[in-house]
Structure formats: C-alpha cells, structure tokens
Symmetry: D2
Subunit: 337 residues, 4 copies
C-alpha cells in the first residue's frame, strides 16, 4: 500500500484523543479517517485534531461507511470484545489498547475469532515493548553477554491515582504491563503469582490497600518481584533490574541503561553525532515545515548565520595567531531586530 492508511480511532476518551493527535501530528503514512465515539462532545474534540476524519457514534456505522483501512481501539476495556469482533469481521488490522479484553474467557473468544479468520490482525497495545531501554535489556538478556537471567526486580511507581482507580486495577491496569513485558524480556511464561503487602502509605486513598509486592515465578526458574506503588508522590518511575549470572542491568533510570559487571558500573555514551542529535534534526525540520506553511521561520535567521560567519572568520585568524582577535559586528538591521 503506497497511499496513507486510513485509521478509525474507536473511543475518544483521554487515550483515544491522544492517539488521534499522534496519528495526525507525528505518525507518517497514515491519517485518522474516522472517530468513533458515542459522546458528542468528546467526538467533536477529537475531530478538531483529525482534519480528514468523519465522526461516528458506533463502530458498526463507521464500518458501514467504508472509510477505514484499520482500527485503533481505545474504548474502556469492557467494550473491547465487541469492537474487536466487529473489526475482525471486516478483516481490518487492529491496534487494541491494553487489555485485550476484560477477562480470560472473552480474550479466548477473541483469539478463536481471529484464528477462524485465518490471519493475524490484532496487535495489543503493550507499549513497553517499544521503549528503547526495554528493547536493549531484552537484547542484552538474550545475548547472555552478562550470563543467564536469574531474577528480575521491577518497580512501578505512580505519584497518585484518580478516584476511579480501584483495588483490582493495581493488577488489571498496572501490573498488567509486567505480565506482558516480563515474559517477553525473560523468555519464559508465568506459572504463579503471589501478592504481599507493604506498610500502608498514609497517602493511599481510603479505598485502596497498597503498596504491594507481586511475586511471579516463570517456567524457566526466573523469580520476579514487582513493587506496585500508586501513591508514592515523588514522580513516575517504571524501572527494571535484571540479575544475571555475571552481573546486573538496570533500565528506567535517568542515565539510561546501567550495566554492572567486572567491578564496574557503566552507561553508554554516544558513538557519533547521528544518535546524539537525531531528535534535534527531526524537531528542527518539523518546526521549519510547520513555520513555512504559516509563512514564517522557527529558528536561527540569516542574520544569525551572518554573525556566525563573522565569528568563524575571527576564529580562523585566532587559530593561526596568538592572542585575542576582536569580533566586530554591524548593528542589527531593523528587519531582524
């Protein structure tokens, strides 16, 4: 397919709204062609960020209109099953926000429906797999450069949670990520789960009991503990420490992945400018494109370029002669002031 993928976003709550903006402003090769949301206010808010999209109140209506090549499902979890089955029925590729569905029985139902259709169409939105540090840690573990994986310590710390967050969401909304990403990192499957309780945080809302420590065993013998902590206030932190036969690796720290091996603690530095400044180049060109469409610029001007040329000329003289070389600039033209 050379043309752009026409994506219908199903559900325009916080998560769906965010995906609409992402598809419009960041993702290349696709655009939002439909916003499916029964609530009119939310639907219209999302449509403001989707200039090529139509609004629909139901998935069925959107499918009937034939404007979608693919669907991104971001409704609350209890509605996923219906949306998934409808889209599977049309053979559409689907990105479904986690969880797949609300329980194992309905998830199994979806799995059966996908198998019946004969084609893998569903991708589930466990986005940690796309985090560069998780990728690097998985690669490190698989390589066994630091030896076999033995244990994993994970922490998931939220500053606070909304009132709607209930006790089961500690598992279904938060630890759920670890249930996906830990086996993916560790190359095994979960065989048991246990929950232990820490001292109650005085910041914890009355209807919750946390922090908790979740212990998971994998079929390859790896033991996993997860601190799940939703009222710790200090910030948002999702971090993982992998204990391997010959050392330790940590991700989710401000410094990037840390490796502890051979009595040394090390962190990667850039090897060349392409990684160091790739994001700056991307942002520079995007800012320029956006400004050019408005008839303006969004960065250093020709006057800035001229000033630098004068400095360089002085710099080259200084390179070849001892002492200070004066830099003399004319006054700034009004045009650039």
């Amino acid at each position: 397919m050379n043309s752009e993928l026409r994506v219908g976003v199903v559900g325009a709550g916080a998560m769906g709204f965010d995906h609409v903006k992402r598809l419009t402003g960041t993702i290349t090769g696709a655009h939002v062609s439909a916003v499916v949301e029964p609530d009119e206010t939310r639907r219209n808010a999302a449509l403001e960020h989707a200039p090529q999209a139509q609004g629909f109140a139901s998935v069925e209506a959107a499918l009937a209109a034939g404007v979608m090549d693919a669907a991104l499902i971001a409704t609350p979890g209890q509605f996923h099953e219906a949306g998934l089955l409808a889209c599977l029925g049309e053979g559409l590729p689907i990105l479904c926000e986690k969880p797949l569905t609300k329980d194992p029985a309905s998830s199994w139902h979806v799995v059966e429906a996908e198998i019946a259709g004969g084609k893998k169409l569903i991708q589930v939105g466990f986005m940690r797999r796309f985090d560069r540090e998780y990728e690097a840690l998985r690669e490190l573990i698989a390589s066994e450069r630091v030896g076999e994986l033995l244990m994993i310590h994970a922490v998931h710390r939220n500053p606070s949670v909304p009132d709607s967050y209930d006790q089961h969401m500690l598992i279904n909304d938060s630890v759920v990520h670890e249930f996906d990403v830990v086996p993916w990192l560790a190359g095994g499957s979960v065989t048991s789960v246990e929950v232990r309780h820490g001292r109650r945080n005085p910041n914890t809302p009355a209807h919750l009991r946390e922090p908790i420590l979740v212990l998971m065993e994998l079929d390859n013998g790896v033991l996993v503990d997860v601190e799940m902590n939703v009222s710790v206030r200090f910030g948002y932190q999702v971090a993982t420490e992998a204990v391997m036969a010959d050392g330790i690796a940590r991700i989710g720290q401000p410094s990037g992945m840390q490796i502890w091996q051979n009595a040394t603690y090390s962190v990667g530095e850039h090897a060349d400018f392409t990684t160091r400044f790739v994001e700056a180049y991307d942002r520079e060109v995007q800012a320029w494109v956006d400004a050019a469409k408005q008839g303006t610029i969004a960065g250093p001007s020709a006057w800035d370029g001229y000033k630098v040329a004068v400095c360089c000329e002085a710099g080259v003289r200084a390179l070849e002669n001892p002492g200070r070389v004066a830099v003399e600039l004319p006054p700034v033209p009004d045009f650039y002031a």
Copy 2:
C-alpha cells in the same frame, strides 16, 4: 496551508540524503517534491526515498518546474549563496544547512537580498537549538533560578574525522555550532576569540593540530571556553557546563541535565507516564501502521493479550488471598506459534 508542503531538497550528499529520508519517513505535513543534485548516482539514490519527487540537475531547473513550495539547501557551503539567492528570488521559504555561506561578505550579501525581499524566508540549520537539553539550559539561564550566568565551559569531542577535514574546519565546521548556540544560551554577543593549543594527540591526523581550547568573550562579560577535540576516540560528546552565580548546570551527560545547587546534585525524573513513555507510544503506533500496510502486525498478538488476561485473573485472586496462585495456560495454538 492545509495540504502538504512540497519541499525541494537541494544537494543529495550525506546530509541531503539524510534529510530526504527524514522528510519522507518522519516529518508530517510535508513531502519531498524535488531532489536537486547534478550527480546522477546520488540523485537517484535519494529519489528512491522520495516517492513523490522528481529529480533535477540544477536549482534553476527545479524552480522553473514549479514543484517546490520550499527548499532545504544541503549542498557544500561554497554553493549555498547561489542556491539561497535563486530561492529567495522566487520567494520560497528556505532551510539552509549551516553555515549560511562560506564567509562574512557572501553572508552579508544574502542578508541584503532577504531584506530587499521584505520577508524572512531563511532559517539556518543550527540544530542544537532544537535539542531538548539546550532548550532546558537556555530556559534555566534566562530564569536566573540559579543566578546570573558567569562562565560557560563547553566540550565538543569527536572520535575521529575524515581525511577531508582540514585545520580551518576545526572552526568553520565544528566550533561554528558554539558561535551560534553560546550567544543564544547566554543572551550576549561574541566580542573576541582566542585559540590555545593542548598537547598534540598522537591520534591526530598529520595535517591537523589539535586539540584546541577556544576562548570567547561575550559583551555581557560571560567568559566561554570550548575544548575542540576531533581525535579523542572515546565516543561523540557535545556537552556544556554553565557556571551561574548560585550553582552549576550541565547538559550533554548520559543522565540528562544535572543541576548542582545547595550542596546537592540533582537530575530530573519523570513526573508522569506521558513523558516517560511518549516515544514508546509513537514508535508503537508507527510500527503498527507500517505493518498494517503490509498486512501484518509488529507487536504483542491476541495470544499475548489472552495470556496476560489469565495472569491478571490469577493476580486479582492473589491480591485477595495469601500464598501462591497458579497460572495455568493452554498450549499455544499453532496459529500463534
């Protein structure tokens, strides 16, 4: 302008080629409509990454064809002036790779031409201004939260340079970035430049004399030193340390911006999940869009979703009961194996 910006990329060497790929694969709201490059091999290589573009051997030919809304100039510096003047003549917005032109006289000429046209059309490619840490440091300095800026120590370390890199390029190709970004950070203008020499690096190519220490004075009294080092081998590092009246800030370290104040060294952590995982979400959706267009998926499958649902059910039981709860999964269906 609602439709996409049609960008002509002028020059398809390493930098131009990279910008073609960026405009096609990363930047939204624009596409490459023309590749201008006299060398046919290079031109065709770039065109492979620009499905909507035509090739031209000269700027004049491309302008005559009327296919460009804007130009990105990435030719060698000595050809910038001609390209800039041609595009200015047509009133096109221009992103011009650094330097603006090869010397102050030609830069002044460009400035005059732009002023004569009555509209700011030129943005110069000093991309450091778009690096998030430089932005944060500039904001910190301007805020005076750590007091007035007094000195800047900068380092620019390359692992090595190509044979074509000559002595003047220490200034014109490398320190040139500091001539732009330091005044932008410090809110002043350069008044003098001096160059001092360190001990010669045995890794330095025979035709170069480096490392050097460049001293710059600004009109607001700030003193700047820049270590310019192109054979240091350890990696690529561009880092800046701002000495302020009440503390120090550093950027360009693996940990992100460090602030030293009140007998404490601190680094920011994430405050919520939007900053922690924004890039993972972007990469997830882009990978899914790319895969969907090929009829595949590129992430967790429905089977992964089902397995997590089983773990969550066990996890909720563990939340409510002491001891281990077994997780029992059916065999993987062949469909997902």
Copy 3:
C-alpha cells in the same frame, strides 16, 4: 581511663588478624596486649603486627596473665559462647564478631550471664551500623522527611564464596547482617521470614542453591525483600532501597546516598572543604609521621614548595595584567633530583 586500652584479640584467623592490624595501625587509645590463638603459626603471624602483645593458646591463660582490659572475640562462631562467658566472668568489655553465638539457646545463655553480671559488657560486631550511609539512611527514615517507611529492598551480592561456605551460611553468615540492620533502620522487629528461589546461577557451586530472595515482615507493617546472591561475579555490592511515603532513598551505590523526591533524583555534594579533604589530611599527616620516624619525608618537598612559590608570583602578576606570564625556574638541585 587516660592510658591506652589493653585489648586481647581472641582468635587470629583472617578476621582476628585483620583486627590486630587495625588496632595497631589505625585505632587510637588502644593497643593489642594479647593474641589468643591455639594455632602457633597464626598466633605468631598476628604477633608480628602487635609489638606490645604476648601470645596465649587459650582465653583462660590470657585472663590469668592479667594483661587485658578488654577482649575482641574473633574465633569461629561455635567457640564464641565459651570465650564470652570467660570474659564476662572477669568483667571485661567485649567486642564479639557476629554472630553472638551459634544458636538462640546459647545466645540466651550469654544474655542471662550478662544480666547476672549487672553491666552491659558485650558489643556485637554488626559493623553495618557504623557505615556512614546506613547511618544517614537511618536518620532520614527516622526524620520522616520523605514520609513513613513502607518497604525495603536490599541486595547482598558476593562475587563468589569459598568452598567452606555451606547452604545455611546464606542465612547465618550473610542474611544475618540484614536481620540486625533492617530492624535498626526501620524501627521494628522481625515477625516472619520466607525464602524464595531464583533461577540457579550456573556459577553457583554444586553444593549450594542460590540466589534466593528472603522476605521479612516487621511488626510495624514494613515489608522487606533481600536478594542474597553469592556467585554473581560482577563485584561486591551491599545496597538498600527504602521506599517511603513520599519518595525513595538508596544507599550502597557508587554515588553515595541517592534521594528521589519531587520528581528529582539528588545526591549530596560537599558543603565545605572539611568533609571534602578530611581523609586526605588524615592520610597526609599519618604518612608524614610514619616517614619522620624513618628519617624521611613522604610527600611534597621544599623544592616543590619553592616551585609553587614561583608559580604563585607569576599568577599574581597574571591576575593584574593581560596575557601570558612566563614561569622561570632554575634547574632542579641534585639534592632534590
């Protein structure tokens, strides 16, 4: 007591030998007056580092000689009880290496004997309480500046263990430290212990099964997990992470205590030169004392002092004048060459 404390060191294995050297070379106000060790080779090796000491084959003989004001017991744990009771009988102050004795019954016996004597004479060698970071963490927890303590994650990683290290020593020799220091940090008492197993480390000796994760509950609700890992090879690491209501603190990292609070990660810097260089001053004066007793010096000479005086004179001129000031030194006199 103004005169020096006469210490009898009981046991001259690795630990006792080390304490003999420490008492002789580092500790002020005391000296080793007796080395008690039945093995003659070991006893003589220790006596070489204890110029004021006599050797004895038994505690009883040493006590009878009346040369000890105090005893440092460093025999294997199964002999502690007998040594403790003998020294308690003489009313001597005792520093007893951990553990107090080999099991609860014998420890209770010692406690009863001490109570019967009416005076606290025994200090047990849990040296972590004297580590500056443990002290700082305890103070931080007690202060509740980061809120109430909720959980503790600890790791104890050894590169390897000797053949004599058996499975029970995972608890009795290693986790034993946590049994002392965690309640001391957390202000509570241990109410339960559980052990979980990680995947077996291929580096683990055949007769051991580790790493393990030890879970401890305290009577104030704090949950503690301890990774105990004796074959991890990467180095020696004993680290503790305290999860508090409003943030996190970590000790045992190369950077010193880290505090994560208010979306910031911070580490202390020195506030003045006394902490920065206190150890350098101590080492300088000790090196000078040791050298002076040998009729030599062990640091910068008068010639070094002269050279610096010349540099300072040039530096003051440079402070008052622009440009480089030459530093001219006469040739080094043969006397200092």
Copy 4:
C-alpha cells in the same frame, strides 16, 4: 623509632587546632608534645586536645625544652620561614602547611638551608596528593591506559570566603593547590600562567574580582584551565577532568572517578567486602574502644545478638521449607530496654 613521635604543633589557629585534634584522636604512632602559640587563649584551647603536651609562646622556647621529635608548622604563611629555619637548625622533621613561605626568595632561602643541612627534612602540606582520587588519576595518567594526557580542566568552587580573603589569595591561597598538584598529575612543569575573567558574580564581595579562569601551560605541551570561583554558593567542589588521547577521566564527582572510554562511561564498584566496609570496621572498633574506656558499649548489644540468632534459626527453616516462618521473641528484658 618504636616509640611514639613527639610532635610540636607550631601555630594554634584554625588549621593548627585541627591538626592537634587529628594527631591526638586519629593518627597512630605520634602524639602532640608541644603547642607553640603566642596567643594564650588559642594555646590553651589546643592544649585541651593534647593531654601529653606542654604549651610554649615561641618555637625557640619549645626547641630549648627538648620535647619535640618533629614539628608541624601551621602559623600564617609569613611566619613560616622563621619557624622552618629554627627547626631545620635542630635537624627536626617538619610538616609545613602550604605555602612553604610567602614568596620565591624566602622559599629559595629555605631550600638552601635544607640543602646545607644535608638531609630532606621538610614536607609541604599539599594534601591533595593524599586524596585517593587524585592518586588514582595520577596512576591512570602515568599508565597511559587511556592514552597520553593532552589537557586538564579543573574547577575549584567555594561557597563563600571570609572578609579577610583578598584578591591575591585567589592565587596564593587557592590556585596554589593546582600549581602543586597539576604538575604532579601531569608529569610536567609550569611554563606560563594567564588569568581571564568571567562575568562578576553578584555574590562576590566588593573587594574581589572573580570568578577567574587561570590558563597554565606545561613544558610537556599539556594545556590546563582552572576555574577559580569563591562565591558560587552551591557547595564546595574541587574537581579535575583529564583529557587523554583515547578518553576522559574525571575526579571530584559524587560518584568517584569516572572514566569515559570506548563509548562508555564507567565508575568502579567494590570488588570485595574489604574496601566496601573498611571504614565501618575502623569506626566500629574505635567506637568500641572509646566506649570501653568509659565502661559502656557503643553498638549492638547482646540482646541484639540474641534477636538475630532467633531470626537466623527461622531463616534456616525458611530456607528448607516453603511459606512464612514466624519469628517469636520473648519480651525485651528490662536490662536492655
């Protein structure tokens, strides 16, 4: 000499007072036998920390009394020459606080006097050479493991200075350390000095002009810059960055020595428990010795030892059985409460 070195401390200002306490409380093999200080109040204050010392108003009186084996000179710098010559005359080993004397002529005079005596007796108090990180950096540079040394960047930052600190002291009291330690690190001799000025710090006292940047050239081609900053308020920092042919090393950071090489940033971890806890052992034994002399203990009691024995017994059962093992303790005896 087997007996203790009898040290006369000459000058009992802040520095001398500190050395008296150090010699009495920290240094082994020596004691303060004389305090020489004309000011009676200061002299008596120092004598309180020197139980074996006599007080004198002049060096001559102290020398005449024959109570000194060695002298530690800590008077103000302008009085060093007289004290040095007097002590040299008696053939005493001398530790002389920096600077050697107030200017090159008087330093030369001292050098001549020492040479005439035929024996190196003077050690100058440049204590940075005894800082473990400076030692490690010097060793690293000499080894050329990261290649030849090319440049040094140093910073010396004070939070503030007393009113008595004048402009020349920037050089004579502060940069003076770099004049000693940089050639010692770099294996060269200073050939020129230049001073450049940063923007004036609003915190700087009216009679000073700083911060300054001091540029030093060494005879081996190494270029050195020193930021000297005495009003930066954030804390006390003395740090050095060595630029070598293949990488970078930094000392004076909270993390200990950092090495940047092969696109990696690394910091040492402990290899075994001896370095990790050596200071804790020293402090433990010293605290116990001090307490034993007072008839008390200063650490974990026998009761603490008993509690740990109970935990260990439970821990060993937990090691061999699944699930939680309760830890049951009797009430704390009043004796230990």
